[in-house]
């Protein structure tokens, strides 16, 4: 049973990726370029050590988003608010980091905790609305994403928390002093963020929490059946709320690697769209910490190696289509597999019934 689950769990993502590769193959063929040549080009560019470093850094950010989404998924929560939570985390992390003056390690710790708090509190709004008011978290989170972006855009105005550096068009927060920055590891002419290790810790903690603690057991139980969990004494609404906040706290860490090791300030140039990426990665990685890591790497690999297509006259946005197709293929594959399993179970039960004496008499 478990072996077949593992089999289907790996085969489905691979099938999804192959499916979308096939689609991209056809699109490129239609464009009149050699698809295989393009794939080779992307691979050689993407696996270039210098690019691998920046891919790894991006993977870490995506990984956080993926884990945040996965925690929600375990509770059947669709945390599309990761975008707003990540913004809140990175922004307030940047603001607090620049405002306080602390000894080196403590400073970083304070920033990270601030980011988690900001992300978690922002997610708490959606959690509260879901638990107390019965508001669908997808709708409330979509609205909250827009509101978060507006609040931050407002707070970034120079009269409030933001500054406009000379010669720059982008508003940003004040710079975090050296004590609040995280070192980088030099490798292949690039710099790996040490936030990587914190991401590893988060991944392990996620796995341990889910599989080895009572809390994780309750969480999974509530996700599998709200009523059953409630009947066995789990405070299910409270679990939903805590899970939402936890997911938001992890989402608050998405931008921290860039913030502490690269830009040292939050600016309007921080990218958007982490929410759907995170959800995609959790789906592709089957909510498993290692699966999500591979998915996150795939995503950042595709994005970093796509610009090379530009030189061949292929707009690099083709990878966005590819990512969307992967997600659709994977959920379709899961759905189909689930249906096949269900049918097999039904058939198994049915054949037992036919062989039973009662059924024979009836015949």
């Amino acid at each position: 049973m478990t072996r077949s689950r593992l089999f289907w769990g790996t085969i489905a993502p691979l099938a999804a990726i192959l499916n979308s590769l096939l689609l991209v193959y056809l699109i490129l063929k239609f464009r009149g370029v050699d698809p295989i040549e393009m794939f080779k080009l992307m691979a050689s560019y993407g696996f270039d050590p210098r690019n691998l470093v920046s891919e790894l850094n991006q993977t870490v950010a995506y990984y956080m988003a993926g884990v945040a989404a996965a925690i929600g998924f375990k509770m059947l929560l669709f945390n599309i608010g990761i975008d707003g939570q990540y913004r809140m985390g990175a922004f307030f992390g940047g603001v607090v980091g620049a405002a306080v003056n602390l000894p080196p390690i403590l400073h970083v710790v304070v920033i990270i905790i601030t980011a988690m708090l900001a992300g978690g509190l922002w997610a708490a709004i959606a959690g509260y609305l879901k638990v107390k008011r019965g508001v669908n978290e997808v709708i409330s989170n979509i609205m909250l994403n827009f509101i978060a972006a507006a609040i931050i855009a407002f707070l970034l105005s120079p009269s409030l928390l933001g500054i406009l550096p000379e010669g720059s068009q982008t508003l940003q927060t004040r710079e975090i002093p050296a004590s609040g920055r995280m070192p980088t590891i030099k490798a292949f002419e690039g710099e790996i963020y040490t936030f990587f290790f914190i991401a590893l810790v988060v991944g392990v903690a996620y796995w341990v929490m889910l599989n080895k603690t009572v809390f994780g057991f309750n969480l999974r139980a509530t996700g599998l059946s709200f009523r059953a969990a409630r009947a066995s004494g789990v405070n299910a609404p409270r679990m939903i709320f805590i899970t939402t906040v936890l997911s938001g706290a992890i989402a608050g860490l998405v931008g921290i690697g860039t913030l502490l090791s690269d830009t040292h300030s939050y600016s309007m140039a921080f990218p958007a769209g982490y929410a759907f990426t995170g959800l995609s990665l959790a789906l592709l990685g089957r909510n498993h910490p290692i699966g999500i890591f591979f998915a996150a790497f795939l995503w950042s690999f595709l994005e970093r190696s796509a610009p090379v297509l530009e030189f061949e006259g292929v707009p690099p946005e083709i990878v966005i289509v590819m990512q969307g197709t992967i997600v659709l293929s994977i959920v379709v594959a899961y759905e189909v597999v689930a249906r096949i399993n269900l049918r097999q179970q039904q058939r198994a039960v049915g054949s037992v019934n036919v062989e039973s004496p009662v059924a024979k008499e009836a015949n």
Binding site: I142, I318, T325
Partner: protein, 416 residues
């Protein structure tokens, strides 16, 4: 601002006595407008009811209305369509490209067709395959945005466009309703208090109308008729409320949903076509700017009713128009809202309903205080007013909302 929400959208609950009949609603709207006229005279924010603003409101409201009606069609049939944004992108791109090739009318037809196709795709994934409706919708958003950018990069540069902007499309004809527009224009010019304000508003929406505007506006009564008066509408609502019971009564829920979601995609796509061909004359990357999501918001805001969706899109279109034209006027609206809240408080005091009186009184005080405190409302907040308003409605009026019972729930034929 939240007290404005109570105005047209809820026929149930305590406020019911206030908005019982169409005559009452008209009276209330007139009253609101009267207050706005007063505020205009006091604050000198003359742009609130100028013909320019009402015209712009209409232009901003139409795409929201189309997205909102699209959302309504899908949700009434029981499927949430988060892909509205992507379907709008489909509309902007196909309208601009086919409009450039074969003229704007073909552009609109193409947008309708490809919108229908994208809606059908969403229907196939959610109804037939049965995947999560939110995943399907979000994936459609992503794929549509990516595909539009990819195709723009290939098709537009060789023909005088840009990687992000299409070549210009021929504009569609506009017309002014004869006599009516002139008549109201003459009254508007006379500057009579209140009367001229209303005349100005009517003049604004009757002059230089695009025929597409009129055509798309007709979708509102059409939707209303189909939903509430036709056999198909009954089946559609039944599929959204209780698909199992519907199936047992012989309704083909799958087919009904297929049709409804396809139409949903078509409407959203037509909203996109309006953005590309009427509101401007090119496709531009990011042109939809989250309007699909605001359309989703108008569905909730409008309590899953066509009239409510219309009211929501006009309100959101109005704030959008004010933001673009004269952001200072927004504070005057806040002032007007405070006065209206104060009047409501008075009404409740007379009818001895103390709790609503206290709430609206507090809102009024807060509005007046804010009006004294701040010079302008930052543009960022005006932009997210629709999102904020929807969140407030969901938070405080959730009990009075009547969404289709099974909207968003997975349904498989023959299973429970």
């Amino acid at each position: 601002m939240s007290e404005k929400l109570k105005k047209p959208t809820e026929p149930t609950g305590k406020v019911k006595s206030l908005f019982k009949s169409p005559a009452r609603i008209t009276l209330m709207v007139a009253l609101v407008f009267f207050v706005i006229s007063i505020v205009e005279n006091i604050t000198g924010a003359i742009d609130i009811s100028s013909p320019g603003t009402s015209g712009a409101t209409l232009r901003f409201a139409i795409p929201l209305l189309m997205a909102g009606l699209g959302g309504l069609w899908a949700e009434r049939a029981g499927v949430i369509n988060i892909g509205l944004e992507g379907m709008m992108i489909v509309g902007t791109w196909t309208a601009a490209w086919f409009g450039y090739l074969h003229g704007p009318y073909v552009g609109i037809l193409a947008a309708a067709f490809f919108g229908l196709a994208s809606g059908f795709f969403h229907a196939f994934l959610t109804v037939k395959v049965g995947i999560d409706q939110a995943v399907s919708g979000l994936a459609i958003n992503l794929i549509a945005a990516g595909a539009a950018r990819y195709l723009s990069g290939i098709f537009f540069p060789p023909v005088g466009g840009d990687r992000t902007v299409s070549p210009p499309v021929d504009t569609l004809p506009v017309f002014t309703i004869p006599f009516v527009a002139d008549f109201f224009k003459s009254i508007d010019d006379k500057n009579i208090f209140f009367v001229s304000n209303i005349a100005g508003l009517i003049y604004g929406v009757t002059t230089e109308l695009s025929i597409v505007t009129v055509g798309l506006l007709l979708m509102l009564p059409l939707t209303s008729w189909i939903l509430w008066k036709s056999k198909f509408g009954l089946r559609m609502r039944f599929s959204g409320e209780n698909p199992m019971a519907a199936e047992s009564l012989g309704i083909n829920v799958y087919r009904t949903r297929y049709i409804a979601i396809s139409v949903s995609g078509m409407l959203a796509s037509l909203g996109g076509a309006y953005l590309a061909l009427v509101a401007s004359s090119v496709y531009r990357e990011g042109q939809t700017a989250g309007r699909g999501f605001i359309g989703l918001a108008t569905v909730i805001f409008g309590n899953w009713r066509p009239g409510g969706v219309f009211a929501g899109s006009v309100l959101f279109g109005f704030t959008d128009a004010l933001r673009v034209r004269q952001n200072e006027s927004v504070i005057a609206i806040l002032f007007a809202a405070a006065i209206i809240a104060g009047l409501l408080a008075l009404y409740y005091a007379v009818s001895r309903r103390w709790k609503p009186m206290a709430i609206s009184g507090l809102i009024a005080l807060f509005g007046f205080w804010l009006n004294q405190k701040v010079e302008t409302i930052p543009q960022e907040f005006v932009t997210v007013f629709p999102n904020f308003a929807t969140l407030i409605v969901l938070t405080f009026l959730a009990q009075r909302l009547t969404p289709p019972a099974m909207a968003g729930m997975p349904y498989r034929r023959g299973s429970e």
